[in-house]
Symmetry: D2
Subunit: 353 residues, 4 copies
Amino acid sequence: MRIAVLTGGGDCAGLNAAIRAVVRTARHRLNTDVVGYQRGWNGILEGDSILLDNDTVRGVLSHGGTMLGTSRSHPDLLQRGAQPLIDQLRRDQVDALVAIGGDGTLHTTKMLHEAGFPVVAIPKTIDNDVFGTDVCVGYDTALTVATDAVDRLHTTAESHDRLMVLEVMGRHAGHLAAGAGIAGGAAAVLIPEQPFDIDHIADQLIRRHQDGRNASIVVVAEGATPIPDTIPEYDPVVDHWGRPRLGGMGELVGRLLAKLTGYETRTTVLGHIQRGGSPTASDRLVASTVGAASIEALASGGGGNLIGISNSKVTLRPITEIAGKTRRLSREQIDLLVPMTTAADMRRRSSNR
Amino acid sequence: MRIAVLTGGGDCAGLNAAIRAVVRTARHRLNTDVVGYQRGWNGILEGDSILLDNDTVRGVLSHGGTMLGTSRSHPDLLQRGAQPLIDQLRRDQVDALVAIGGDGTLHTTKMLHEAGFPVVAIPKTIDNDVFGTDVCVGYDTALTVATDAVDRLHTTAESHDRLMVLEVMGRHAGHLAAGAGIAGGAAAVLIPEQPFDIDHIADQLIRRHQDGRNASIVVVAEGATPIPDTIPEYDPVVDHWGRPRLGGMGELVGRLLAKLTGYETRTTVLGHIQRGGSPTASDRLVASTVGAASIEALASGGGGNLIGISNSKVTLRPITEIAGKTRRLSREQIDLLVPMTTAADMRRRSSNR
Amino acid sequence: MRIAVLTGGGDCAGLNAAIRAVVRTARHRLNTDVVGYQRGWNGILEGDSILLDNDTVRGVLSHGGTMLGTSRSHPDLLQRGAQPLIDQLRRDQVDALVAIGGDGTLHTTKMLHEAGFPVVAIPKTIDNDVFGTDVCVGYDTALTVATDAVDRLHTTAESHDRLMVLEVMGRHAGHLAAGAGIAGGAAAVLIPEQPFDIDHIADQLIRRHQDGRNASIVVVAEGATPIPDTIPEYDPVVDHWGRPRLGGMGELVGRLLAKLTGYETRTTVLGHIQRGGSPTASDRLVASTVGAASIEALASGGGGNLIGISNSKVTLRPITEIAGKTRRLSREQIDLLVPMTTAADMRRRSSNR
Amino acid sequence: MRIAVLTGGGDCAGLNAAIRAVVRTARHRLNTDVVGYQRGWNGILEGDSILLDNDTVRGVLSHGGTMLGTSRSHPDLLQRGAQPLIDQLRRDQVDALVAIGGDGTLHTTKMLHEAGFPVVAIPKTIDNDVFGTDVCVGYDTALTVATDAVDRLHTTAESHDRLMVLEVMGRHAGHLAAGAGIAGGAAAVLIPEQPFDIDHIADQLIRRHQDGRNASIVVVAEGATPIPDTIPEYDPVVDHWGRPRLGGMGELVGRLLAKLTGYETRTTVLGHIQRGGSPTASDRLVASTVGAASIEALASGGGGNLIGISNSKVTLRPITEIAGKTRRLSREQIDLLVPMTTAADMRRRSSNR
């Protein structure tokens, strides 16, 4: 049985650990090397692959990014369907595929599975919003970077009595913003799951300052949105999927809060440093676990599944049930924001509207 | 409703984050301050407490250790039973208690619960072996420290073609050793769940060196033990609970492997730096979550439970079912060690004996 | 002898370590407590101070920011001169002052010294450009944060074959940009000391990609400027000191390089996280050294000096000679950029113009 | 001109950064590749070398250890003298050598220089005690690791009211112990430069605890020694150079302080994790600087020198003047320990004896 592996979508920490586990487990369990496709699905379409053995993956465990390269999906992938992929996989004598990726990758994986090709998916995204698993490869490292940024902003906020706004990633789900906000002790957290009321947040910050706390951190997910029609200058331009166009939400929130509170305010957009760097111990452990389990699944006929982790155990969930869904913060998790930050009152008020 | 909190047993990272969440949630949900007992259960027996409010817990989120102090249980706690504790709690007008701790703390908590006093427990231990939860406060930080140590030993092992042995904590369970071993890419991991065969490990290392890999890391849990009668000089002195006395397993393994392989070998005992320091983002998040949930549980009549996390959700499990049990590595988790390290073959051979 | 201390200008890591050393050394050498003025020079003008003793500074060694607060100088400080400051210092029975700060603080310190008040200055700035010392409090921490960002961007650049532009602080000097660029292995570094030729940098990056290196990092100091008239859209708006207005240089460089090279390009502005967070060991050591030495200097009549470090030794340099000067990268340090990055060739070409 | 490079002695962080700078600068300035000898001087004696070019050193900047391997000097190196080395260098058509190392390496380098072979030395040692430079490659990373350990021990010491003893490296000089002790806020620091009086240290700790500070950290350099005849059980076994045999000083101090103070005491021996791991930004910068400067020196006839850093500038000092000397803590640096720790009073008392 000859196995191939690829990484698709945006890069994150832990991908190399997952690739290494796939290769080492394939050698150990199936006594076979692994074909690695370059730059995501493009590597299959273009027949661009390398052979991966234990030597090739030596030392990559602690390296960020992906040794195979990655890319957003090839433009005409969806139009052309599974057949060109399957043709090339056959040419390369590949019997089964491990696809490491997020949303887009799951979509293509589902297509392959429905066309009868044995494939499993490993969830990776710093947004941690893949459905059907508790944790995605890359999230813990991004959470660590974002929390470190909140820690650093605290000391400068307190030295200058400032309001500091930090924009982190998270288009559809607030796991990263809420995680870093709670772990870092932010005063408020704005998440995609809960449209925000900027006036109320400003009121909360003013009350907080009146209590003698002159420094505050506000964490904003890039996908957070205001309650409709509450911010005249907010222009919800939509992309071609009808989703609000991202960009600048942290800057907008910073500008509005500065005006509404009168406090000295600074905004930081964390950007790409959330994706990169050496994976945390936890990300390496998760990646090694699901990487090894992906081979076990393929070896025992478990194709068509997402290899996730739930309750510290490996779980298999049918890709057909998962593709297209998003795991958002639960009501319980949002409620936890309340005593940990001032975001809660915001929530209550906004739900009265 | 007046709530008290204490921390018992060995310290770890994240305790302050849990205390802060207890205090802030008590203020937010119940509009009450919290009584903090000093130095674990001793604080109750000696009537030594302080008042905790939002100001008291400001800034402690990122601090290691516990602002309340902690201690191994008071010597005559078990003999005297729950009554002296309850008497003092009543004198202090405390209606319910949050006890943050491990094994010993759970035992006393159970005693209190059975005597009818409302109490919940929050699991903490760097060993990660409290039954009834997936994750314990303090584990992720210890895992991070231990993995960082493995990373550092790798570079010195490779520069000198050495065998490096690292002893980490873990008396009854190998979560920390296996976690750091997998995340750090150790050649072998020795855990309490699986008696080891030193000759076989030496053989594996020799074969590995013959394959051109002249540097190897072996991670040893302090509670790892050899297969009975395989090491003449191993003296399984037992403590007064009948458990093998800890201490020196890393040194013993290092000495034996040096002799059996002939390789230059160095041993490092990681020791107390595993416990301390600023908690990781994940530990702060876990601690904040279970800290907040402990107040919710007490407020809604959920006394007598361990407040754990399973599947990213808060779980309540009756303390009476949990106290005295240990969560060990599962067979699946041990099997994962195989392709990631050479430990697996060791396992198979040892089980043939 | 009664000593006061203040921190002025932008915050950075290590200020608390310096304050702690001032307080502990004053207690040890002079057997006196210390007056701490709040929010920089404003604290003197407004008579806002606290008493600092060994207890007050306990535990602050590892904390970022400044426990005294800080501020850009009070607007009418320069107009009113030293007298109002001296009047308040006398009212508070202060005999001598330790001022921790950068440019602006040195200016006011000089004013005080010339008016006859005993004062010493401790250099702090993440830009590392205070004249008369080799190293400033706060630089090493900022260098560590910026280098970590370069490391992280590397992995994402390599995974996606991207050009990543990172803007770091540094208005007048390129120590931070050059330091992080060399330590992180950037392909090019743009610094204030050396106007850049954007076409030539683009050529260098293209040649580099032609050699098979498809990922490149370009570090841009916020104060870097193009060779005059080489970039039509560059608008060198000047502030009221006649200095080019800062802001957006990273974004501009990123936009231009994307156009000139055709490579996928992303820009990150590191911003305020460079200032904050726990100081590195080196920053704590430097801050403790100059903090202690500042008391020794005042106790032995060394008023009017900047307390710096040169050649691992404490040095005293007259403030009157230092204020208003900037320590820039030397020609030797700039030359070092050449083999470490591609910046060197840029230099040679630009100097031919 | 053909250049060779090797790394000798114990490994540390930053060696790869230095090698990379040597290779890149040789390519840039001299348009030549570099010969890399394996495992220190053994590589020359055994004719074991590899060719190093820009591709070979790609990505090693942030890696700990040395890609060339290293070793303590070959046993019969000193007896056989420079000739066998020069013979092999000639056979390999090597014109000049860069030797990166500490004490032992300097000795051999001096021998080569005196025999007329062009050679320069780059100082590396985590002890930071090479004479003729302010800073050695590897020190800053070791300082960071040791300070992090002190930080971690603080939180556990405070949680349990314990005395924690930490043994760090430093056979002849206390730079690392003093640096980590000051940066970490230790209560006392024991260094080779200053024999210690264990009774006095115990008295200081008792007085400190009487002042309400129940947690203390004591940092012990491995080469610290007691004042002669003050500790009956101290056995100053000497090695064959007449130097006290190392090992166990931390454990001995911990045992004695536990007995003398009666406080709960724990000892940690930091060991090999001080050497390894990714170099700090500062170590990479220092290593890159002296690596590049070593080529400049050889290219311009500067053979026979140690390439150091002093006052942020590259310095050249004749190896013949430096070999065999040790840079110890200065009196001023030792005095700084006084207000920062309790070690100072110890000093005064001991000097009265």
